[in-house]
Subunit: 223 residues, 2 copies
């Protein structure tokens, strides 16, 4: 048995599977918080999802596309890029290719993107500013260490670096997030990608599978 | 003769000297843009002016105090700290003293400050996060190089690093800035500190004086 606050329980629309519903909270809620509460992404703006084939990345692509943003997604494998395109990115780039930051600038007519959703800030933060528009915002969703960084890059563009921690979203923000996510499930704009469903007894296998490279989508344990 | 756009000309209230008026644009406009447009400082919030005895720092202290914020200012000299207190800071600290960041936290009842106005990001950015409240904002106004920085610090507190360049303020923001600054001059909450007035013929001497340590306030050239 699980005891929940009323605010933690949300309706699962009839067109959505249990597995898909279970894949919503952390990735989709994090993506929404980053994109709309922190970076204030607006319809008509452009967004670079820097690492778009992971759980949060897919959620970012679907949410940004549905809001009317121009979406550029990156992935490091051919399979990942195919998936990012299928999930609705207008443009897909390979972040292991030299010169891909220049391609981001070209795709935005030389302006740079308004928003960057960054999944690996310790690698990308400094070069993100080459791809960023004046008054742009970099939302830091993922990070694995320190980076040598020149704060003048942010000054020169009146730009913002925004840390994202869903854990610190306010109760009002959480209520807004889940209202929007339920509506997105209902109207079909949000479609969590399920890689695999495994019985609870195979939880150890799920731990291994989640660490394997080259899979995309969530692994869901079912009773 | 100087040719100006109509939007670049602002009324100088009768209670303000020509020298004071000439000291408003860049420092006060930058401080306003940083504090209110970029960091969204609110009455009742706390602000650390990290380097408060310089031109922009003094403007930050006066603007934040007048808005109803709790102001903590730092300076590296006794003379500077006395001046920061005279300009309206509620608390004044020595940023050359070990442990002063801990003092900032104590002064805010253990919460940290809501806003930091940072004049030397390449030295302070990493440690600023020890002084920052949850959902805090660091506005980077001054910087002289790169710094090793861990983006997770911003994530952990849902915090923001906001580059500040007055040059990129929008026309609407500039109009707002100057309306507010003229009003602040008129009601006496903004009082530019003039260190020295020199005749235009002594411009070379002014260049030397501005580089000398230990003076506070602007040097104004008069016809």
């Amino acid at each position: 048995m699980t005891l929940c606050e009323q605010t933690q329980v949300h309706e699962l629309p009839g067109n959505v599977s249990y597995a898909q519903g279970s894949a919503m909270n952390v990735p989709y809620a994090t993506a929404f918080h980053a994109l709309f509460h922190r970076a204030h992404g607006e319809a008509g703006e452009s967004v670079l999802v820097h690492g778009a084939s992971g759980g949060v990345g897919i959620a970012c692509v679907q949410l940004a596309r549905a809001r009317g943003m121009t979406v550029i997604g990156t992935a490091g494998t051919e399979k990942g890029r195919r998936m990012v395109a299928e999930q609705g990115a207008h443009h897909v780039l390979d972040h292991t290719a030299p010169g891909y930051i220049g391609d981001v600038v070209k795709l935005t007519g030389g302006q740079g993107v308004d928003v960057i959703l960054e999944m690996l800030a310790n690698v990308n933060l400094q070069k993100d500013f080459d791809a960023l528009a004046m008054r742009g915002r970099v939302a830091v969703i993922g990070n694995r260490g320190a980076i040598e960084f020149n704060p003048r890059l942010a000054m020169n563009k009146n730009a913002a670096i925004l840390g994202v921690a869903l854990f610190h979203a306010s109760p009002a923000q959480l209520a807004g997030i889940h209202s929007a996510l339920v509506e997105g499930l209902r109207n079909g704009t949000l479609q969590p990608v399920i890689h695999q469903e495994l019985p609870l007894a195979q939880a150890p296998r799920a731990h291994e599978a989640v660490l394997e490279n080259g899979h995309h989508g969530k692994i869901v344990l079912v009773p």
